[in-house]
Symmetry: C2
Subunit: 206 residues, 2 copies
DNA sequence: GTCTATACTGTGATAGAC
DNA sequence: GTCTATCACAGTATAGAC
């Protein structure tokens, strides 16, 4: 039964989460304090405990929201992936890269263990698992089968993203390597099709 | 002039750092408190300020020590690298991987921004730069030239390490992919020599 | 120079009045 | 549901004992 009261509660929760994202964007995900959040929604800090059981519960809801948002991105992407496996690979990896770089604070919460002591609950982790399941299916359809292929993919894309955030925030130094990295990966797992980028030593050398 | 007093000071600093590493190992790098450290060395928390200007200064010294230790590993490794470029690649990447996995707390301090607000000073960052310079030289000697080759290498190896720490701590799920990842990388940058691992689809398929 | 005692500020969290 | 008041604990600063 969803009556008016629970709807109002939901609205307040959303308002609190939106304020938390604002603080995270401006101050960094680790610098979020209950006072900052409360100030933005016009509450005293203890009042937040009416809506969230703890600060970790707020992080948990943010984590879940981040993965739900990206799950929506992936779901919208899938029906219109390019037919060429390599081009599709670039679209999939690029969507993750750009989603992460659009809000580094969110990406750090979702992918790194930037908040000491924070572990997502099973419910909050669920959409992340769905994203991984979809990825597994997409890779298999493109011709990359098996756990190892998935693990290698997440390592390569995740590595590019975290290098970009850590060492060239706001730039594109590792973003520019994404197409080449996908060619490298496609060659390794045996995807068909011509390379999208020239192999550096191959074309101009001997 | 290094008299007895400054030597004692140095010893105390080392003792404090060792205690800090202990806490980091047991509780996690983000859970280190001055009270914990002080307790282990038999001091009151404010006394630590005689030896370190702030908690961040302790993190800074730890960061520097971590990279100095790994620099020593790399320096000891270099004279006896295998002649085969691919085998050498595996040794270099493996040394980083194993160094990181031996103490995840140290790796998180060194590679991720796990401590909110912590930025290494230029002095502490210096050994990290030296490691990167050596890596650049080593890769070039093996036949992988240019910034892109270095950036791709750090992304791949860093990605494997962070996936391992985050998603399979204590296991070897991504560690097992290291040789194959180095073959993949070697193929991409055009290193000579036969593959160390069989290409999955190539040998048993058509 | 080195450490202690004390205190100040800010944090997440709880209890109880309204 | 929100408030005030309060707590325990964090990092930090300073004054003073030795």
């Amino acid at each position: 039964m969803i009556d008016r009261r629970t709807k109002l509660r939901e609205a307040t929760r959303r308002e609190i989460l939106e304020a938390a994202w604002e603080v995270a964007r401006e101050e960094g995900i680790g610098a979020v304090t209950l006072r900052d959040i409360a100030g933005r929604v016009g509450m005293r800090p203890p009042s937040l405990y009416t809506h969230f059981g703890s600060k970790m519960a707020i992080y948990d809801a943010m984590y879940r929201q981040g993965w739900e948002d990206y799950l929506a991105v992936v779901a919208g992407l899938e029906p219109r992936l390019p037919r060429q496996p390599r081009a599709a690979l670039v679209v999939v990896a690029g969507s993750f890269f750009d989603f992460a770089l659009a809000e580094p604070a969110r990406a750090q919460l979702m992918n790194q263990r930037l908040v000491p002591g924070f572990e997502p609950t099973a419910e909050a982790y669920a959409p992340a698992v769905q994203v991984l399941d979809r990825l597994r299916g997409t890779l298999a359809r493109l011709g990359a089968d098996g756990d190892a292929a998935v693990d290698l993919f997440t390592a390569v894309v995740g590595g590019l993203v975290s290098q970009q955030i850590a060492n060239d925030p706001g730039g594109r130094r590792w973003r520019r390597l994404l197409e080449r990295a996908m060619d490298m990966y496609a060659d390794e797992v045996g995807l068909p099709g011509p390379r999208l980028t020239p192999r550096p030593g191959g074309t101009q050398g001997a």
